[in-house]
């Protein structure tokens, strides 16, 4: 370890490979089909809920379509924050996986849960500093990616 270029001896490497195969063989795998089905129906249900909010905005609240979309996002974020706060959303996430956190609900949960967790270390060094521990990487790389895509789009507008 302290020699940067040292490689395990072939015998040792063989031993490590064999062990890794043993662990793979004995470790249960995530049930793929079940995960996909759960993610599909929960994710779909969240999106349907969003669509319902859009329709409410359009037909009852006389919103423009942009305003109705924003309204739907806001409502989903609010509901997720509420469910996170009362300790329900983590169970939904555990059940549905990506189905729960790929929609905007996941982003809300990623903001509210550290806020709750690190509030105890104070408003500045706790909540303030750690609010973006989970969402931070998404924002950094999401924004960076959109800049790159934006440049590409400017160069090749077709």
């Amino acid at each position: 370890m302290f020699d940067k270029n040292a490689k395990p001896s072939p015998a040792r490497q063989q031993q490590l490979d064999r062990y890794s195969q043993l662990v793979d063989r004995l470790s249960p795998k995530s049930p793929m089909l079940q995960g996909l089905l759960r993610a599909f129906w929960v994710g779909g249900a969240i999106c349907c809920l969003g669509q319902i909010f859009i329709e409410i905005g359009l037909s009852w609240l006389n919103m423009t379509s942009t305003a109705a979309s924003t309204f739907a996002s806001t409502m989903l974020v609010f509901l997720t924050a509420l469910l996170t706060g009362i300790g329900v959303f983590d169970k939904i996430g555990q059940y549905a996986g990506a189905g729960a956190f790929v929609p905007i609900s996941g982003f809300a949960n990623a903001m509210v849960s550290p806020a709750m967790e690190f509030r105890r270390e104070g408003m500045v060094l706790g909540l303030g500093a750690k609010l973006f521990t989970i969402a931070g990487p998404v924002l950094v790389w999401g924004t960076s990616a959109s800049v790159v895509v934006g440049i590409l789009y400017a160069l090749f507008p077709w």
């Binding site: 890794s20 662990v23 249960p28 995530s30 996170t84 983590d90 555990q94 956190f101």
Partner: protein, 342 residues
């Protein structure tokens, strides 16, 4: 010159056979809903234990276990010469805060989930060597404090893979003593100190696989040093290998030509929860082996249904930093032989 109290490469002999005079196990709500609920001294329904933070709550678990253990031995804090404590938190914060209330000379230990065995090994040596008459070993873990330090905020809704384990909320305490006027639950006769074994497992969600080779190594060295075999023990107990580590250990021992009979083998991580409790591969954490040993196993010693066991708590000595830097997980296992008076 060979040290007189050592046998073989790495086993320590404890000629005066220090006794465990009392033990206490304080468990959390989920642990209290498991199969061992009747073995615990107290089940604390409130995760926060009346405190404001998870860390303070864990510390209170540890203090409660230590305090109960001292009282069950019929002693006061002043009669305990040294307290050894450990937990999973950074700077072993829960132990230090509990020791602050105990007012007993304190040695803090970190052996990750192996700390219960590590503390018993050291305490029994201190008592055997005459450096302490009464030595107290207390360790704790807390699901909520471990989760926020090692993984994600509690309310973050992510999925855990089936190999992940559930950190036990609880604390266990044992009093090792040379005082003949105290009761004897069992005696510490040998200790085999573990060495780090790292088989290049990187997955922090599969700690059983990271620790099992260390358990195999310690077990094999213990047998080589002492000339004993499985037949000499009623039970071989591992700390928190969980389902994956349990299965891996059985395979590894088979490969070493020392096939471990599943009927003589118990893993605390598998014993503490029911399959229905949604803990995936089983329990983990310092508190896991601590509450099982000091609750369940000590009850069986008291009822005289166990004669001699090998208690081998396993630890995955990773840190969040080492994981993020792509480091592999160093595993360790310390073993101590506990034997009832004939």
């Amino acid at each position: 010159m060979m040290s007189p109290n050592r046998i073989g490469q790495s086993t320590i002999l404890l000629p005066s056979r220090p006794r465990i005079a009392a033990s206490a196990a304080i468990a959390g709500k989920k642990e209290g809903e498991g199969p061992l609920s009747s073995d615990f001294d107290a089940i604390i329904e409130d995760d926060l234990f009346g405190e404001e933070t998870w860390e303070k709550a864990e510390s209170r678990f540890q203090f409660a276990a230590a305090d109960a253990c001292i009282r069950k031995a019929g002693l006061t804090g002043k009669q305990v010469d040294i307290a050894l404590g450990g937990d999973l938190l950074n700077q072993i914060m829960a132990s230090a805060m509990a020791a602050r209330e105990l007012h007993i000379p304190f040695l803090g230990l970190y052996g990750a989930c192996s700390t219960m065995a590590e503390s018993l090994c050291i305490a029994s040596m201190l008592v055997d060597g005459g450096y302490a008459r009464n030595a107290l070993c207390t360790v704790s873990s807390h699901y909520c404090s471990a989760e926020r330090q090692y993984r994600f905020p509690l309310e973050y809704g992510c999925q855990r893979p089936p190999t992940a384990q559930w950190t036990v909320t609880g604390a266990g305490s044992a009093l090792v003593s040379s005082d003949d006027t105290l009761p004897t639950l069992c005696r510490c006769t040998h200790a085999t100190i573990g060495r780090i074994v790292d088989m290049a497992v990187k997955d922090a969600n599969n700690m059983g696989a990271a620790m099992a080779p260390a358990a195999a190594d310690t077990l094999a060295r213990h047998f080589a040093d002492t000339g004993r075999g499985y037949a000499d023990y009623d039970l071989i107990i591992t700390g928190d290998l969980g389902q994956v580590g349990h299965d891996v250990l059985l395979t590894l021992m088979q490969e070493r030509g020392l096939p471990l009979d599943a009927a003589r083998y118990m893993d605390c991580g598998l014993a503490i929860f029911d399959k229905e409790q949604d803990v995936h591969a089983g329990g983990s954490g310092c508190g896991c082996s601590a509450v099982v040993l000091n609750g369940h196993i000590m009850r069986r010693f008291r009822e005289r249904t166990l004669h001699r066991i090998l208690f081998m708590a396993t630890g995955a000595l990773l840190s969040p930093t080492s994981s993020q830097q792509g480091g592999t997980i160093p595993g360790i296992a310390h073993a101590i032989v506990l034997e009832a008076d004939a």
